[in-house]
């Protein structure tokens, strides 16, 4: 599988660095408090925690949808709170995000949805076509290039969302419950995408409830409980991609 353009140059700074980060919505109590953590390039973590623990909230800080209420968050060595809006847009182009609710654009075909990050980044239409077609084939959506999200099944939508997240060969991948609603054969393939990018040097975080999934891969877990984060060792030591 050669789905991704290899990076010739490793990012200089750690993709994710949290220093005493706290976060809350509006005036409600803290959802996350005093998180300090550095995730280097080429790392792979699961993100676990009960429903409502704050997994999506933590990811929303990392994909720059929210800013920390306290503390400092640096992505690729840049303090996101201090970065200009255009700078943040540039950082976002190094991210690949699978949203828990997919966030596909209903008026665009599956192909155009996946192509969106490339087009926004100004990739040539020729390359867009090549990358997107290959990736959609890989996630098992051959023949559905022109289908709009409303005619896709739940699992098909999720695969489009995952393809969109990884199409730009991002250096930081944030996936919220990615293989939740697909059968195991496909879940395996989707995980392989992340693992492959991880091997190419990307920093990957996969939020999940699926204990089966967590136990299948030898990756450490970030566990959120009562607003604080702890790093737990991998549940399993079976090598991925077998």
């Amino acid at each position: 599988m050669a789905l991704f353009r290899t990076k010739t140059k490793e990012p200089d700074a750690d993709p994710v660095r949290l220093d005493g980060v706290a976060f809350r919505y509006g005036n409600s109590p803290n959802i996350l408090s005093d998180l300090s953590l550095t995730l280097p390039a080429g790392s792979f973590h699961f993100l676990t925690g009960a429903s409502g623990a704050g997994k999506t909230s933590l990811l929303s800080l990392l994909y720059l949808s929210n800013l920390p209420t306290e503390g400092k968050l640096s992505l690729f060595g840049q303090d996101v709170a201090k970065a200009s809006r255009n700078r943040r847009a540039t950082i976002r182009r190094s991210l690949g995000v699978v949203f828990q609710d997919f966030r596909l654009l209903d008026h665009l075909s599956a192909f155009d949805n996946v192509a969106l990050p490339l087009r926004v980044a100004g990739v040539s239409e020729e390359n867009v076509k090549a990358y997107v077609s290959e990736l959609l084939g890989w996630v098992g959506l051959d023949g559905l290039f022109e289908a709009r999200p409303e005619v896709l099944s739940g699992g098909q939508k999720q695969r489009v969302a995952i393809a969109r997240a990884v199409v730009g060969s991002p250096k930081l991948i944030l996936a919220d419950e990615p293989p939740g609603t697909v059968d195991d054969a496909i879940a395996e393939r989707l995980m392989q995408l992340f693992v492959e990018l991880h091997k190419l040097g990307a920093c990957v975080i996969v939020a999940t409830h699926n204990e089966h999934l967590v136990s299948r891969f030898p990756f450490p877990r970030l566990h959120i409980e009562r607003g604080t984060l702890s790093v737990l060792p991998a549940v399993s030591h079976i090598e991925a991609g077998e």
């Binding site: 994909y63 720059l64 949808s65 929210n66 800013l67 809006r85 255009n86 943040r88 847009a89 540039t90 950082i91 976002r92 182009r93 991210l95 995000v97 966030r103 596909l104 654009l105 008026h107 665009l108 155009d112 969106l116 990050p117 087009r119 926004v120 980044a121 969109r164």
Partner: protein, 289 residues
């Protein structure tokens, strides 16, 4: 510019903004042409009422008739005079018949000679010129210029003009308000699209220009449709006006500058839509990190 947005065919609000602009341009067109026509109509009527005046040249019949001819010649050379003619004495006497009854008696009266004058463009200036020309030839002549009427109608037309102006202003204000309103409302449909574009790393300027050009296209399109609907309505109105009585109403028609103004309406709507769209998207984006 490549569009990552819904094509208008898929967008109810896209249709809607075009529709609203069409309706408002149509209304503005009606307002402008109503004002223009009423103004033009009053001008014409004004001219038909006051474009005539009578010069009385007093004196002994023969001498007065002679002098009247000189007055006529002088008037024909005066700027602003369309037609001038001596009223035959018999016709003038006929005018007096209801007053005096007795035909024989009238013939003996030392009636003044009359010159009937039609003005091309009745105005104070023209009246002054006529006055000067007449007085130069026949100082004793009396000019009956229906001035009261002239003043009254001129003032009325002017006042109506002011009001028409205000009405057009109001129609344009309504157009502006509605385009701003419709643009903002139409963009709420796109909040999710804006958010996703933002999240995949599009810059604010890129997102704003996508939406503002779309709004411009929709407003222009709506404006043109409004104008296209308006033109036949104007034709129908003018046909209707002609049917009533060709003498009473001159054909309802718009002076050229008005047409220019109407053609500017879609452009104005487009500009307003552009600014409103930019501002709305900018505000939506400011709410995102």
């Amino acid at each position: 510019m490549r569009s990552d947005l819904p094509t208008p065919r898929q967008s109810t609000m896209g249709h809607f903004i075009a529709g609203i602009v069409a309706v408002l341009v149509f209304i503005s067109g009606i307002a402008v042409s109503a004002a223009g026509s009423i103004g033009g109509l009053l001008d014409t009527w004004n001219a038909s009422v006051t474009g005539t005046l009578t010069v009385q040249v007093p004196g002994e019949a023969k001498a007065a008739d002679k002098l009247a001819e000189s007055v006529r010649d002088a008037l024909l050379k005066t700027e602003g005079v369309k037609r001038a003619g001596v009223v035959p004495r018999a016709q003038a006497q006929a005018l007096l018949r209801p007053w005096l009854g007795d035909a024989k008696l009238i013939a003996d009266l030392p009636l003044p000679a009359l010159v009937d004058v039609e003005l091309a463009a009745p105005s104070t200036l023209t009246l002054e010129r006529v006055d000067a020309a007449v007085k130069a030839v026949a100082p004793a002549a009396i000019i009956d210029d229906h001035r009261v009427w002239l003043n009254r109608i001129a003032e009325f037309a002017q006042a109506l003009g002011y009001i028409a102006f205000i009405l057009i202003g109001l129609a344009l204000a309504a157009l502006t308000l509605t385009v701003v309103f419709a643009t903002r409302a139409s963009l709420t449909e796109y909040t999710q699209t804006i958010e996703v574009l933002h999240l995949v790393g599009a810059r604010d300027g890129y997102i704003a220009s996508q939406f503002s050009w779309r709004a411009v296209r929709q407003a222009l399109w709506g404006g043109v449709i409004g104008l296209l609907a308006f033109a036949p309505t104007l034709l129908a109105l003018s046909w209707f006006a002609r049917r009533i009585d060709p003498g009473v109403l001159p054909p309802i028609s718009l002076p050229l500058p008005y047409w220019g103004g109407l053609a500017a309406l879609p452009v104005a709507a487009a500009v307003i839509a552009f600014v409103a769209a930019r501002a709305t998207v900018a505000r939506a984006l400011r709410a995102m990190v």
